[in-house]
């Protein structure tokens, strides 16, 4: 096992480096200027698997610092990779600040500029006990011997930090791993994910066994399901996939004001969703920092939808300034960062009986708005999906395309939510490892529409 939080660890090195370069660049400011500084950094080992063997391994160390300068009513943001060498990075940020200054002279006034204020000081650090790099592959493949396993192990330290010229200071460092994987029997597949801060061999073996059970069910006779409307159970991961569409403008105050929100009817109280549905931002789960890029700290709990009624859209400070609204700590994109969906009452052991005859979907794939005004979404079924008859799994299905309005699926068609929930950690690795995730129950939906 290894840890990144020792005195020589990556997090400690980056923190000291960021302290020094931030202090230097803040000291370069002149009258009339305000500055917000953000750092993102990671030390990650990525190992990609195919056929339970290694396709590629990549070590990545990266530190990126951004400067957002406010000067005479103008706003300019610039960022760059840091080398890790203090002298050259301090000089690079001095040049970057000068470049911001020069550019501000050419820009029009920014009437929606958010004043820089001090939102306080916070430090959150989470140590882990990860596998040593040389132990990752043997530890993964040993339990999976005989499996056709594909996927990605990503493990290491992830960092977010923030400072500003008013004295604000935030720091978040966490040491975690994610093994996002799937196993195959020819074209039949089942999906799993093992994530945490301490690798535990028996937990990994148990996780894999659960996925093997799903794969084994696909040896039952394949079922031919025609397009149509069916009662459908979305297991927690599938329901998380569906609710992921709320990240695409649905809960954004700016999108609502700018005619781009699929939840316009909900925002304007022309309709409601199911009284079973309650969604909040819940930062107590601890997957992601509470501060945003301005250093604003969200409430630990922010209700979004309560009993089917919209309680809050996500409002960034910039949107609040433009539209005279009240900001609530949202990030600039105004998408949920720590979505938590309240559990229902349907016990896991009763799911198949409650479903009766219909479809059991473990995962969804490639979702997109098909008609934004009516909040209609299309997507595919993926991995372990089954036809269920009279409460018994009859067999796997061929992948189906579906097309359904969220006003229906989360509204009058929502029959029940399960009493058990699962955390779906963010596994995205575009540019860098993502933080965050969501917690969702499973959902039983009447008349879900399949089209192809």
């Amino acid at each position: 096992m290894s840890t990144g939080h020792g005195s020589g660890g990556f997090a400690a090195r980056v923190q000291a480096h960021f302290d020094a370069v931030a202090a230097r660049v803040l000291s370069d400011l002149v009258a009339g200027e305000e500055l917000t500084i953000n750092v993102t950094a990671e030390e990650t080992l990525f190992v990609r698997f195919n056929s339970n063997r290694v396709r590629q391994n990549t070590d990545v160390e990266q530190i990126n610092v951004s400067l957002c300068l406010q000067s005479n009513g103008r706003t300019v943001e610039k960022s760059r990779t840091m080398s890790g060498d203090l002298e050259s990075d301090q000089a690079a940020l001095t040049r970057l600040l000068a470049s911001c200054r020069d550019e501000a002279l050419s820009l029009p006034l920014d009437p929606d500029q958010v004043p820089v204020v001090n939102n306080g000081v916070s430090i959150e650090e989470f140590s882990g006990a990860l596998l040593a790099p040389e132990d990752v592959v043997p530890s993964v493949v040993a339990s999976a011997t005989g499996c056709d396993l594909a996927g990605l192990y990503a493990g290491g330290v992830s960092i977010r930090g923030n400072r500003n010229s008013k004295g604000q200071s935030h720091w978040f460092a966490t040491e975690t791993f994610v093994l996002d994987y799937s196993i195959y029997n020819g074209p039949k597949a089942a999906k799993g994910c093992y994530a945490g801060s301490t690798w535990n061999a028996s937990e990994w073996a148990t996780n894999l066994e659960r996925t093997k059970t799903l794969l084994a069910l696909q040896s039952l006779p394949q079922q031919d399901v025609k397009p149509g409307s069916y009662r459908t159970y979305l297991a927690p991961r599938a329901f998380s996939d569906l609710l992921g569409m709320l990240n695409w403008n649905a809960l954004s105050a700016a999108a609502w004001k700018q005619g781009r929100s699929p939840f316009k009817k909900l925002a304007e109280h022309e309709t409601t969703l199911s009284p079973l549905l309650t969604i909040e931002e819940n930062f107590s789960v601890g997957l992601t920092p509470r501060f945003n890029s301005l250093g604003e700290v969200s409430e630990t709990h922010l209700p979004l939808i309560s009993g089917g009624v919209l309680k809050n859209l996500l409002v960034s400070s910039r949107t609040a300034k433009e539209y005279a609204m009240v900001a609530n700590g949202a990030c600039a994109e105004e998408s949920p960062r720590a979505m938590d969906v309240s559990a229902g009452t349907l016990d896991e052991k009763d799911v198949l009986a409650a479903l009766g005859t219909g479809l059991y979907l473990s995962n969804l794939h490639y979702l997109n708005w098909s008609d934004p005004v009516s909040a209609r979404v299309t997507g595919m079924t993926r991995y372990a999906c089954f036809w269920v008859e009279n409460g018994v799994i009859a067999g796997p299905i061929k992948d189906l395309r579906w097309d359904e309005s969220l006003y229906g699926a989360l509204g009058s068609k929502l029959m029940a939510l399960t009493s058990h929930t699962e955390i779906d950690p963010a596994v995205d690795t575009y540019y860098r490892r993502s933080l965050g995730g969501s917690r969702t129950p499973g959902a039983l939906i009447e008349g879900f529409t399949f089209t192809l």
């Binding site: 396709r55 391994n57 990266q62 990779t81 890790g84 029009p108 996002d180 597949a189 005619g259």
Partner: protein, 476 residues
């Protein structure tokens, strides 16, 4: 931009103490994003992503370590990390590679451009964006009038222990104008994009004004239009939707790493099998598709891929029959199939994988008027709005921004929320007409890989006519 002081030779010598082969890819990319919305500045940002990917071949396995520390000591540390991890994982490698997959290459590439982007001022770009935003202000119903420009300048230099030295310099522009018209609970958006390897010539005030007014007027027309009808009918796709159709239903399924199963846990597998090459009838005889990194101004034009493989135009589908896949030298070695030079990485901190590049549908013989004239009852669709396809690249559903009905060979009323769906090989079999003039589009955001990477791809296509397709509109 490129720091010639990087001690690549000494670093490679250090790596060769432990590796059979070593490569060093320096990448420096400056991305500037400017946006104006409703005549006000929305975004003025730039980023510099700069670093080196150190690559080693140890015990028949390629492994990687990325660092932004460009000193000799920093590069040596990265090579040491790459060697240690690769040695630890090579016992479980998926294939035994050799230096044959990294042929020595030498050369330089520079994007075609008329005017250097560095000579285009901040004020000039901002002015164009403001001109467009103001030109969209033709009605109070235009609630969102946005204009944005992303300017990317990239330098990629590749050195290897077997003598490669390539230096490639790219200037890229991605401009979007977007107008949203809203009334009551209804809203409609119309947009225009200009993407590719261009220089400062892209910032022409008149073009921004003309395109701004056009998309605003068309957004208003959509707001007043009826929903697209739901029925089977002929479908004429314009090049700015063909790009998506090509991308999703030809480009991705032909990637050899997908066919080999590398992507199964993320983007997905492919309905195409290794034995299909040379045999599979992918579409009608009118269908000719190429991988073309040589097309001037297209987004993914280059002379060498990130493994040093020289890039040449190759035919993927000829007269409707599948010929060749999109696979790098590594995928070619694993599959035994011919491929292309498409081993590409998104940045300094990602290892190369099989990517699409420029995938183009070759022009046919018909004018647009002739294609319209061949339709008794159908619909013409412009500009992708929604996209979704299954993980084997079979069942797709795509939506467009703007459509016009075609009746008895003539364009008719505008309809909104146009969508269509189909299954890949069946759909391409319905190809009944190909225009003689192509247009080039592209996207900066093709996502794939574990760890994930977004990369730029280009697609050139003429308008194409498909017979008897399932078309549908939005909810009433």
């Amino acid at each position: 931009m490129f720091n010639n002081a990087i001690p690549h030779e000494l670093a490679l010598q250090h790596a060769l103490k432990s590796a059979l082969w070593a490569g060093l890819r320096f990448s420096s990319e400056t991305t500037t994003q400017r946006a104006v919305r409703n005549d006000k500045p929305e975004r003025n940002e730039s980023s510099l992503e700069e670093g080196v990917m150190c690559e080693v071949l140890v015990d028949g396995h390629f492994g990687h370590a990325a660092t932004a520390d460009l000193s000799l000591a920093g590069l040596q540390r990265a090579f040491d990390r790459a060697v240690a991890t690769t040695r630890a994982t090579s016992g479980h490698k998926v294939h035994a590679f050799s230096a044959t997959q990294r042929p020595p290459a030498n050369g330089k590439y520079t994007s075609a451009r008329q005017r250097n982007l560095d000579a285009t001022s901040v004020a000039e770009i901002t002015d164009c964006l403001l001109v467009a935003s103001k030109a969209m202000n033709v009605s109070d119903k235009l609630v969102n009038r946005s204009a944005s420009a992303m300017i990317v300048q990239t330098q990629i230099n590749f050195f290897s222990s077997n003598g490669s030295e390539t230096r490639q310099s790219f200037d890229l522009v991605d401009i979007t104008l977007s107008a949203t018209a809203a009334e009551g609970l209804e809203s409609q958006t119309r947009s225009w994009q200009h993407t590719g390897q261009f220089g400062g010539e892209s910032f022409d005030r008149d073009t921004f004004a003309q395109q701004g007014e056009r998309v605003a007027q068309q957004a208003l027309a959509l707001l007043a239009a009826e929903n697209c009808p739901s029925a089977r009918m002929d479908l004429l796709l314009m090049p700015d939707q063909m790009m998506l159709q090509i991308h999703e239903s030809i480009g991705h399924p032909l990637e050899l790493d997908r066919i080999l199963g590398d992507e199964r846990n993320y983007a997905g597998w492919s309905f195409v099998k290794k034995e299909d090459f040379g045999h599979l009838k992918y579409g009608s005889a009118l269908m000719n598709v190429s991988f073309d990194p040589t097309k001037s101004n297209e987004f993914a034009s280059y002379d060498f891929d990130d493994g040093g493989n020289p890039a040449t135009k190759e035919i993927l589908i000829k007269n409707g029959v599948l010929q060749r896949g999109l696979g790098s030298l590594e995928s070619q070695a694993r599959s035994g199939l011919p491929g292309v030079a498409n081993f590409r990485s998104a940045s300094w901190n990602r290892a190369p994988i099989d990517r699409m590049g420029n995938i183009n549908l070759e022009p046919g013989t018909s004018s647009l008027d002739e294609l319209i004239g061949e339709v008794g009852h159908g619909v013409l669709m412009h500009t992708n709005r929604s996209w979704s396809i299954d993980d084997y690249r079979n069942k797709f559903q795509f939506g467009c921004e703007y459509a016009q009905m075609i009746e008895n060979g003539a364009l008719g009323q505008v309809v909104r929320n146009p969508n269509y769906r189909g299954v890949t090989v069946d759909f391409w079999g319905r190809l009944a007409g190909v225009g003689h003039t192509d247009s080039t589009f592209g996207t900066s955001y093709c996502g794939k890989g574990e760890p994930s990477q977004v990369i730029r791809v280009g697609h050139a296509s003429p308008p194409c006519l498909f017979r008897d397709v399932e078309v549908f509109g939005g909810q009433a």
